[in-house]
């Protein structure tokens, strides 16, 4: 079964690029152009293995979205990689994101290929962790 990723990104150029790159690695990609849109998508039966989340949006911000989905049982453990085009974020916000996201990456410093590999690494890591219950 194909792994599913939800890309939450309002910049079409970027989302197209990521979509294309993930599809090359056999991912089923869904793109939401806003967190509000993504919330609607997540309300359906759709259950992604990973979410790629931008931070800056016109309406609801990425960190608010992240906070909301972490409260939902369905998405509380879903791999979320936060991507940002901003060089700096308020430290308190940063701390929140560090707590809730699985990874946090500057968009500009990662090429699409490495991004896909990073997400795959995280998703695989999670499934390994699941199959091997903690002994300590």
């Amino acid at each position: 079964m194909l792994k599913k990723i939800l890309i939450v990104e309002d910049d079409k150029s970027c989302s197209d690029m990521y979509k294309m790159r993930f599809e090359m690695n056999k991912w089923e990609v869904t793109v939401a152009y806003s967190p509000e849109h993504a919330l609607t998508v997540l309300k359906s039966d759709y259950n992604p293995d990973a979410i790629l989340l931008d931070l800056m949006f016109r309406g609801m911000k990425g960190d608010e979205f992240l906070h909301l989905i972490r409260k939902e049982p369905k998405t509380k453990d879903t791999i979320v990689v936060v991507l940002t085009a901003m060089n700096f974020i308020e430290p308190t916000k940063q701390e929140e994101i560090n707590k809730e996201a699985d990874d946090y990456i500057f968009k500009i410093s990662i090429m699409p290929k490495e991004l896909v590999e990073r997400v795959e690494e995280l998703v695989e890591g999670k499934s390994i962790a699941k199959s091997q219950p903690k002994t300590d």
Partner: protein, 600 residues
């Protein structure tokens, strides 16, 4: 009638003098205002009462005392109604409560009638403390109850008003309430003897304070200052006592001497009050300025926030298209889309490099803006510096080989302890130093070393490259300075923003360390930076406060949770770490496909 010089005569005389003076002062200040009129009436009733109180005290016969106590009562009867009038004027409710006020005056006139009968003052009898004291008639008890009610009602109105007010007006009304309280405590001591209870009217001494407080509240409510009021009252009391003493002088010499003392006392007090007034004015000016400063500060903080928001927006708007262009070019060059021939590849690769350079430029300029505003945030976390250095060196290996350089990390014999530093930013610094070393070294050696000295880790990046002359060394850490900028023979060396070392040095300084260099022209350079082994939060906070007056919390040094894996730009999360300060663009493309392998 002979002059008696005792507590009762003096206090009644003081009340008389104070109420007359304040009454005239307040009334003459504005004869048309109902508040001033009300106070005039009030002062008149108190003056009359106290004057006849005084005369009664010096009476020689029972008949005299009887007459003066009746006259005294004629004025005292009106004190509550006049007080009611003042309160209504003060809380601007004369119209609303005119019937109640009229009733109070009608009742007062009724008691005035009663005052001419034995119902009020039955007789004069000696008491323990006085030779002649009035005894309460049958109507006196009723009078006292009504008298009390007429005072109680406006006092309740006043209290209600005070609760709903703020600022000067509130202070003014509180002062009046205080005056009434004092007057009641004082005045109540007069009535025990009327009913045969042997308690002397010692509270009379508080009488002047009431009048003065109310008068003061009316005239100078905008100048209310406890120190000033207290001083002026003290002056007034001292002068009044001295005046009475002078008037009661037994000889001319005594009169003259006491007169001189009185004048000197008034003069000295006048000087003292003047200085207090000046001080008060100055304090007012200072508090005005403080309020202004507070306001300005708020505006500055808001401006600061807007500037921050702008910078964030600017970064976002600049970086988003660069990300898309860079990413798509990278996909094209890697032949993710289609096979490319060598010509096509040779055409696209420089575009990718330039785009990456543009990305660095955008980040460096914004980082510089951040530093200049003292808003560079340091997010500390436990970091393995050995691993960070090794990873960074790995990222440069291909580039170094292309230049014919060898690059090596020579760590200490035992591994460095974990440091509480901003992993991503220190990574940027190391990347910048190694990038520069490779840039200016051809077919040479680059060595990175680490050692511990005096509680600090010292990292050096040395090369056998072109070196920097003395003049260049002076300016190297300045913004936009580029070594070899004016060297027409090395135009390629001018690539970069000239911000890398400036940013690096600031990052190190923010960590409480130092950055310096040793270089010999044509022999090579060594760049050093130190980082304290122990991170002391307080020290860092002090440092942060000094640097960032408006946003102290930014560098409070809280390490992000799980920062090791989640911090952007860590070797783990940002593969091949293309996010490098002023590093030559080529290696990014060549190495971005490589995964860093941790060497430790």
């Amino acid at each position: 009638m002979h002059i008696v010089y005792n507590f009762y005569t003096i206090t009644s005389l003081l009340i008389f003098i104070s109420s007359t003076l304040f009454g005239i002062a307040v009334y003459s200040k504005n004869t048309k205002q109902s508040l001033n009129k009300a106070f005039g009436l009030f002062a008149l009733s108190v003056s009359g009462w106290s004057l006849f109180y005084y005369i009664w005290q010096i009476s020689n016969t029972e008949n005299q005392a009887f007459l003066y106590t009746r006259l005294l009562m004629a004025f005292a009867i009106f004190i509550p109604a006049n007080y009611f009038f003042i309160v209504l004027a003060m809380i601007e409710k004369i119209r609303e409560k005119k019937w109640q006020l009229t009733l109070a005056y009608i009742l007062s006139f009724g008691f005035l009638m009663l005052d001419a009968t034995p119902l009020m003052v039955r007789s004069i009898e000696p008491t323990k403390y006085h030779s002649f004291w009035p005894m309460a008639g049958q109507g006196f008890g009723v009078f006292l109850v009504v008298w009390f009610l007429i005072i109680l009602y406006p006092t309740l109105l006043l209290y209600g008003k005070i609760k709903s007010l703020e600022g000067e007006k509130r202070k003014q009304l509180i002062m009046i309430m205080l005056g009434i309280f004092i007057a009641f405590v004082g005045g109540s001591t007069n009535y025990f003897q009327w009913f045969g209870i042997q308690i002397p009217p010692i509270g009379n001494a508080l009488g002047p304070i009431w009048v003065v407080l109310i008068g003061y509240a009316i005239i100078k409510h905008n100048l209310l200052n406890i120190k000033l009021v207290a001083s002026e009252m003290a002056l007034y009391l001292i002068s009044s006592i001295l005046l009475v003493e002078t008037l009661f002088s037994k000889s001319l010499i005594e009169f003259v001497l006491r007169g001189i003392v009185l004048i000197v006392a008034i003069y000295v007090s006048y000087i003292a009050i003047k200085s207090i007034k000046t001080e008060h004015e100055q304090n007012k000016a200072i508090s005005r300025q403080a309020r202004q400063l507070e306001h300005d500060k708020k505006e500055l903080v808001e401006l600061d926030r807007m500037k921050d928001e702008f910078l964030q927006m600017a970064t976002h708007e600049l970086n988003t298209p660069i990300t898309a262009i860079q990413g798509k070019l990278d996909m094209a060059v890697r032949e993710d889309l289609c096979k490319l021939n060598s010509e096509q590849k040779a055409f696209l690769e420089p575009i990718l490099n330039e785009t990456t350079r543009l990305g660095h430029l955008s980040r460096d300029v914004l980082n510089t803006a951040r530093i200049d505003q003292h808003r560079m945030a340091i997010n500390r976390s436990e970091t393995d510096l050995d691993a960070l250095i090794s990873d960074t060196i790995n990222n440069f290996e291909i580039k170094a080989k292309e230049q014919g350089d060898s690059i090596a990390y020579i760590p200490m014999s035992k591994s460095l302890p974990k440091l509480n530093i901003d992993q991503s930013k220190i990574g940027e610094v190391i990347t910048n130093l190694i990038g520069n070393a490779i840039k200016f070294t051809e077919k040479g050696k680059i060595a990175v070393t680490s050692r511990i000295k005096d509680g600090e880790v010292i990292i050096s990046v040395s090369d056998t490259g072109v070196g920097i002359d003395k003049e260049g060394q002076k300016h190297l850490f300045e913004k936009f300075y580029q070594a070899g900028r004016f060297d027409p023979e090395n135009p390629q060396e001018q690539q970069g923003t000239g911000l890398g070392l400036y940013i690096s040095q600031n990052i190190i300084n923010l960590h409480g360390g130092k950055m310096w260099l040793e270089s010999v022209k044509d022999k090579g350079s060594s760049f050093y930076f130190s980082l304290p082994l122990e991170y002391k939060e307080d020290k860092a906070k002090d440092n942060a406060t000094a640097r960032k007056p408006l946003e102290v919390e930014l560098t409070s040094g809280k390490a992000p949770l799980n920062a090791e894996t989640k911090d952007p730009n860590t070797a783990k999360s940002v593969i091949a770490n293309t996010n490098q300060l002023s590093s030559p663009p080529v290696e990014n493309m060549n190495q971005s496909a490589e995964k860093p392998t941790k060497t430790s």
